[in-house]
């Protein structure tokens, strides 16, 4: 895992001092809210319905146990004993006091963490594949490239006041586990025929009001020019992105209006110019960072078998664990989606426990996934049963990865001032209603947003739910057929929306249509793609 040196530490320490000064000026009345707002946003502090929310960055979703334990302690010390893991691999706290925010940042800085640019119109925390370093199918570990981007994007002097927020993701395998093409810039690290590494740039994806799948604008930027190319992409956007309407200000709209070819032409011209400016970190810097991501000292010659005699354990292992590149090891996903729970929430005790389990069982490493779960990436198969028993005894053993209970939901109207409808109660009801049939239904990704800003990724759900306000009443639209990953597609609305109880029944009906039409090993999404919308509409409205 990456370790800060004196420079990285000085950056976060300076940021704490800067923000403490800004908060002091705000509280003393020298800094008006209008000027303070973007500053607090760039330090992760967002004003919700009832209190401030603090979003802490977990760069590319990777954490060690000491960091995880501090995240648990912060939940106790400054919040109400809970943390909420987010769809961008971060964690947020929903009940924060402005005057305590600088102290939280100081606590984070002591374990090499921060909240740099987790909100605001700037380059956000860069996300990656939650199985990086463990997955068998990666070309390289994508995290060193994400760390290079983290440093480049931190307090970038030119890009703190972009037209709108800017999200980047880096992956290094053909199986996209980070929804890369739904980012402002998605980078896939690839190898060409000569065996050289390069970065394929996908630019202009996103969800929100106008969901778009990013087109590839350059299939192979030499790896030693990745930062320069990113800077070119950003500069064209900063100069020409729309600023007259915040709903049309994301880069996807610029690319849509200019056309991909014209945007690409401008980026290539800017790139040619920037290559003369020597802004790219040297290869030595990438090598320095890579050394931190070397494999942990895996044992060899250990058992590659699981004892499956406990049926509950076997079900969990089959559902929540992924094959590891190293024989004898397995990657474990801890579901933060217990039946009837709040998706992505964990108590302070659970957070600290997961940190401790990472220390004992996973070479001190954890990952946060964009589906709001936690991964222990490197667990010995011989230890898996003991680990599961501890997880299960602490409400962390739900066997539902990528099943209907493993849903993504935004905070919705329970917390968020932008929301039109509540998401959490809908998620809880669906979870409770369908839990008994979960194993039968199989892989089904359900995603719920409480407004068209789409923080719950409803466009990318096999089943998506969008909460809207219809004449003062919460109403829920149903979407089918969305998907992230290599075969990214956007969901289609079935028809008129439903009330809160109606949407729960509608989801159940959609699963029944699937089960009645399923052929062979088809997943819900496969059946939908084969039979189309009509049979679902018939069942829902017929």
């Amino acid at each position: 895992m990456y370790k800060y040196d004196q420079y990285d530490q000085a950056m976060v320490d300076t940021r704490v001092e800067e923000f403490r000064d800004q908060v002091r000026r705000r509280l003393e009345g020298h800094l008006p809210e209008e000027a303070f707002r973007p500053l607090r946003l760039m330090n992760g502090l967002y004003l919700q319905l009832h209190a401030y929310m603090l979003r802490v960055a977990v760069p590319y979703g990777t954490l060690n146990s000491a960091q995880m334990k501090v995240l648990g302690d912060i939940a106790d010390k400054y919040d109400r004993g809970y943390g909420h893991f987010t769809t961008r691999q971060n964690i947020q706290y929903n009940w924060i006091k402005l005057e305590e925010a600088p102290d939280i940042l100081a606590d984070l800085a002591r374990v090499e963490m921060h909240a740099f640019q987790t909100s605001g119109n700037c380059i956000r925390n860069t996300t990656s594949d939650q199985y990086a370093g463990a997955a068998a199918d990666e070309v390289v570990d994508p995290r060193p490239y994400a760390e290079l981007i983290r440093q480049w994007s931190t307090v970038h002097p030119e890009f703190n006041f972009l037209p709108r927020k800017f999200k980047m993701a880096v992956i290094a395998s053909d199986t996209d586990r980070a929804a890369m093409r739904l980012h402002d810039i998605g980078i896939q690290i690839v190898k060409n025929e000569a065996g050289e590494l390069g970065a394929a740039f996908y630019v202009g994806g996103g969800m929100g009001r106008t969901p778009m799948i990013a087109p590839c604008i350059n299939a192979f930027v030499p790896i030693g020019q990745m930062i320069t190319y990113s800077e070119a992409c950003l500069r064209v956007y900063n100069r020409h992105g729309r600023r007259d309407n915040k709903y049309k200000a994301r880069i996807k709209i610029l690319i849509h209006e200019l056309g991909k070819d014209e945007y690409t032409r401008q980026v290539e011209a800017e790139f040619a110019h920037l290559l003369t400016q020597n802004i790219e970190p040297p290869a030595e810097e990438l090598e320095r960072i890579k050394a931190f991501f070397a494999d942990p000292p895996f044992e060899t010659g250990i058992t590659d078998e699981l004892d499956r005699s406990d049926a509950a354990f076997a079900r969990w292992a089959d559902t929540n664990c992924l094959a590891h590149k190293q024989p004898g090891y397995i990657a474990v996903t801890i579901s933060l989606k217990p039946v009837g729970g709040i998706p992505g929430d964990a108590s302070a005790d659970q957070i600290r426990l997961m940190g401790e389990l990472a220390r004992q069982y996973s070479f001190d490493e954890l990952r946060v996934t964009h589906a709001q779960n936690i991964v222990l990436p490197h667990v010995r198969k011989a230890d898996l049963y003991a680990l599961w028993q501890i997880l299960d005894a602490n409400g962390l053993g739900t066997p539902n990865l990528d099943h209907i209970g493993d849903m993504i939901a935004c905070p919705g109207l329970d917390y968020c001032s932008l929301a039109n409808a509540r998401s959490i109660p809908v998620a809880q009801k669906i979870s409770e209603r369908l839990a008994p049939r979960e194993a039968e239904i199989g892989e089904l990704k359900l995603k719920i947003s409480g407004c068209i800003n789409a923080c719950g990724h409803h466009h990318a759900g096999h089943i998506g739910i969008l909460g809207v306000d219809r004449k003062g009443v919460e109403n829920y639209q149903l979407l089918l057929g969305g998907c992230e990953g290599a075969d990214t597609s956007l969901g289609q609305i079935t028809g008129p929306g439903f009330d809160e109880d109606g949407i729960v029944g509608a989801v159940e009906k959609a699963t029944e249509v699937y089960l009645a039409n399923k052929q062979g090993e088809e997943r819900f999404l496969d059946t939908y793609r084969r039979i189309g919308m009509a049979p679902f509409k018939e069942a829902l409205y017929g």
């Binding site: 001092e17 000026r25 931190t154 006041f161 802004i279 040297p282 030595e284």
Partner: protein, 147 residues
């Protein structure tokens, strides 16, 4: 017109206010120009030799186009005065310095103690710009050059 509150240059300031980009093209003797956020800084590149002052206006501090305008001029070798004008706030001046601004004429004068703290705050920077400061990666790898 707002007073210049900070100026990091020793040469004699240009007395004339900047003209618009449109009229600059027509007035072959003007030495000062004012860039609005929507103006293309690259339109000035053929005239850098005779330019002594470029004012970059920030009508609202949240419009960040002026940062790119400044870097484009400096990257092209512009060595004259680059002045940030308009809604120039104390929490943005360190970023502006990095992008090449070397004078500041805020609509509302800055609190001197806050401004001095802001200019001095960041001992290290991650990105190279034309301000001459060595980025962190250069300090980590003295003598390394990118291929």
């Amino acid at each position: 017109m707002a007073e210049v509150q900070y100026r990091f240059r020793d040469d004699e300031p240009v007395a004339d206010p900047g003209v618009t980009v449109d009229s600059f093209g027509a007035q072959s003797n003007a030495a000062a120009v004012r860039l609005e956020p929507g103006d293309d800084a690259r339109a000035l590149l053929p005239h850098l030799e005779r330019l002594r002052l470029v004012e970059v206006n920030f009508p609202v501090f949240g419009d960040g186009r002026g940062y790119s305008s400044a870097r484009i001029l400096r990257e092209a070798g512009y060595a004259g005065e680059l002045r940030a004008v308009g809604q120039v706030l104390v929490d943005q001046i360190a970023l502006m310095r990095r992008c090449g601004f070397d004078s500041f004429a805020p609509d509302q004068p800055l609190e001197p103690a806050d401004a001095e703290a802001a200019f001095a705050r960041w001992a290290d920077v991650y990105q190279p710009t034309t301000d001459g400061r060595a980025p962190v990666w250069a300090k980590r790898h003295p003598g390394a050059v990118n291929a």
